[in-house]
């Protein structure tokens, strides 16, 4: 077996995995009949189609006629820092409030850049936090926990 198109090979695997996931859980819901469909009917049918399409993509990637393509390298530091900062923001928001969580979000995500500098990041964070306070809290009056919960109480 010779994988020619690595992008399509892994895309095929991905579709099959998603299909199996949705079909597997879909079968747990009641299927019913075509005239009286249960909640499992339509998703399971769709999931089977996704599996079949995944198999087609996978098979085509192994064909000798397929275009040679490699998967671009994953850049894990950027991925982890940016998504991690968002996850932290969501976990900290109710506890520490908007101001502190934003600082965490901005400082951590900025670290992903090729040209990181602490001074510039802190300045950027200060400007953004002030803008957010004025626009979202003061002008639009959106409901946020603003300061850490232990200060309010």
């Amino acid at each position: 077996m010779n994988i020619k198109n690595h992008k399509d090979f892994w895309a095929g695997i991905m579709f099959i995995a998603f299909g199996l996931f949705f079909a597997g859980f879909g079968l747990k819901y009641s299927i019913g009949t075509a005239a009286k469909m249960g909640p499992g009917y339509f998703p399971t049918a769709l999931a089977v189609i996704v599996i079949l399409l995944g198999v087609v993509v996978l098979a085509a990637s192994l064909s000798p006629k397929a275009a040679t393509q490699r998967v671009d390298r994953f850049h894990f530091p950027a991925l982890l820092l940016i998504l991690g900062s968002v996850v932290l923001f969501s976990l900290l928001l109710n506890l520490l409030g908007l101001m502190v969580s934003l600082l965490v979000l901005i400082v951590i995500s900025s670290y992903a850049s090729h040209e990181y500098s602490l001074k510039a990041t802190l300045l950027n964070a200060a400007v953004l936090i002030v803008i957010c306070f004025i626009v979202f809290v003061w002008a639009l009056k959106l409901q946020f926990p603003i300061w850490p919960s232990f200060i309010n109480n």
Binding site: A35, P43, A60, V86, S90
Partner: protein
């Protein structure tokens, strides 16, 4: 004709109506909807100019801000945001050779060359004028076609609607770039994702895994922000910055007499082509701009100049993409079916305001319907009024380094997602979609068809169920209804056509952004 004028009258009445507000303790009466249109176009351009943020991410990011407004005001602002984001994309194409979105990729070719020759101002003005003209024509077309199409839509039963959706989804993937099979698989994944949450008929919770936030389904904002916002930011951060901004060269905005003479015919052709392609299911601004550029390159007298700063190469695709952006509202407003991912976002916005898009809106809520159509024209007018004088601000914004911009983008995305439901769990789900979007990109899977699937999933299941309930489980019903049969036959013909090797090659060639 008379009814058209009456209807447009209703629209203008709704948009221009004065509403009392209290500002700084003063009781004032001002046309608030115009203010919303202005704000939308302004903020839309502002965000659209930021590199790596296309209309989808822009709309997703700013959608929550429209929730606090009344329905018409919210939709008007959203339409303004959409046009602003589109125009912002053209600006970055011309000034830094970096298309903010796929529909302005071709504008880069000649627009950037014009900018390098010191004609950036003329290129920007041409883009604005072409867009405005195309927008005016297309808005009239929307107004004229919406009523007759809606009358046809009323004759559709669940069977026909189901086949129409198949047709729409197939159209969307056929006109998209890249592998057809992968695009269809992405649509199906989107449809599945759209089914997450409580089943309408039985109330059974599907794929929610005891997460209460999932029981209402996965929101459009969450998906769009993750896949188009977060994933784009990560992909941009990966690459080392290399941007060349033509800052000092934006002078004399006004095209000369010769420029005007050369742009008229391309604008007209671009408008016609864009309007037609926009109405088709899956038709969108991208395909129209590519097609009109290709057309001009074939028939223009100055074709030798193409690629080296021909004004026709800016005028035609800009007219076409704006016309198409406008006419793609027709299927949404008349039939209730979004034909591309941006329209899918619009459905999401309408649903949040408790408006189920479809033919019934026209009769049940005429002020909203015609107000929205008139606001399209006003949104276009705002762009010209706003963008030409403010071009200096947009240029300065372009010179901000990406390392300062992306934390700002993340900040606004996070606040946007949070404010939809005031729920921080939504942010975790969005981060998950960010990861997914990154994976899709690395594996060469186009995410826009998935977004369309997300919106259509529940509708499609509903019509599929009802059709088979009425036919007592007989699947042949989809082939015995003549309309349904015709739609399915056209869909399969489309699929067959694009898989024919000769056309497959042409299609790939058309999407190459040389």
């Amino acid at each position: 004709m008379d009814t058209l004028l009456t209807n447009l009258g209703i629209g203008f009445g709704a948009v221009l109506s004065f509403q009392p507000i209290t500002l700084f303790g003063l009781a004032l009466s001002i046309p608030m909807n115009l203010v919303y249109a202005f704000l939308g176009a302004f903020v839309g351009t502002l965000v659209g100019v930021l590199p790596g943020l296309g209309p989808l991410a822009t709309i997703a990011m700013l959608l929550p801000a429209t929730f606090v407004l009344p329905p018409l005001g919210g939709l008007i602002m959203l339409a303004g945001i959409f046009y602003g984001a589109q125009y912002g994309g053209s600006t970055t194409s011309i000034l830094i050779n970096l298309p903010g979105e796929t529909s302005t990729v071709v504008t880069c070719i000649d627009g950037y060359q014009m900018a390098r020759r010191g004609r950036a101002g003329v290129a920007l003005a041409t883009a604005a004028l072409a867009s405005f003209f195309a927008g005016c024509v297309a808005t009239l077309l929307v107004a004229a076609l919406a009523v007759p199409l809606a009358e046809i839509a009323f004759k559709f039963g669940p069977t026909e609607y189901f086949s129409l959706m198949i047709f729409g989804l197939i159209g969307a993937v056929v006109l998209a770039s890249g592998s057809l099979v992968k695009a269809i698989a992405m649509v199906c994944l989107g449809l599945l994702g759209g089914l997450v949450g409580a089943d309408v008929n039985s109330g059974a919770l599907r794929y929610t895994f005891n997460i209460p936030e999932l029981s209402d389904g996965i929101g459009m904002v969450v998906v769009a922000m993750g896949v188009f916002g977060f994933a784009e930011v990560i992909l941009n951060v990966e690459q080392k910055e290399k941007r060349e901004v033509l800052l000092s060269k934006v002078k004399n905005l006004f095209p000369g007499r010769d420029d005007y003479r050369r742009m008229i015919a391309p604008i007209l052709r671009g408008t016609v082509l864009g309007s037609l392609l926009g109405i088709l299911p899956g038709g969108n601004a991208t395909i129209s701009s590519f097609a009109s550029y290709a057309l001009e390159k074939k028939i223009s007298k100055n074709r030798a100049e193409f690629g080296r700063g021909a004004i026709e190469g800016v005028a035609a695709p800009e007219a076409a993409n704006n016309a198409a952006a406008q006419t793609s509202f027709i299927p949404l407003l008349a039939i209730g079916l979004p034909s591309n991912a941006v329209m899918a976002m619009m459905v999401g916005a309408m649903l949040i305001h408790n408006i189920q898009p479809g033919p019934q809106v026209m009769t049940s809520n005429p002020t909203l319907f015609w107000g929205l159509i008139v606001s399209m024209w006003i949104g276009n007018l705002m762009l010209v009024v706003l963008n030409l004088p403010l071009i200096g601000i947009w240029v300065r914004l372009l010179s901000v380094p990406y390392r300062f911009l992306y934390p700002a983008i993340l900040t606004f995305c996070c606040i946007g997602v949070y404010t939809v439901n005031n729920n921080s769990v939504d942010l975790l789900i969005t981060a998950g979609f960010g990861l997914l979007g990154y994976l899709f990109h690395k594996l060469g899977c186009e995410p826009a068809p998935m977004l369309l699937g997300f919106v259509l999933g529940p509708m499609m299941e509903e019509h599929f169920r009802r059709a088979l309930l009425l036919s007592h489980g007989d699947f042949t019903v989809f082939f015995t209804s003549p309309i349904s049969l015709a739609l399915l036959v056209i869909s399969s013909v489309l699929v067959v056509i694009v898989t024919i090797p000769a056309i497959k090659f042409k299609r790939e060639e058309a999407f190459q952004d040389d």
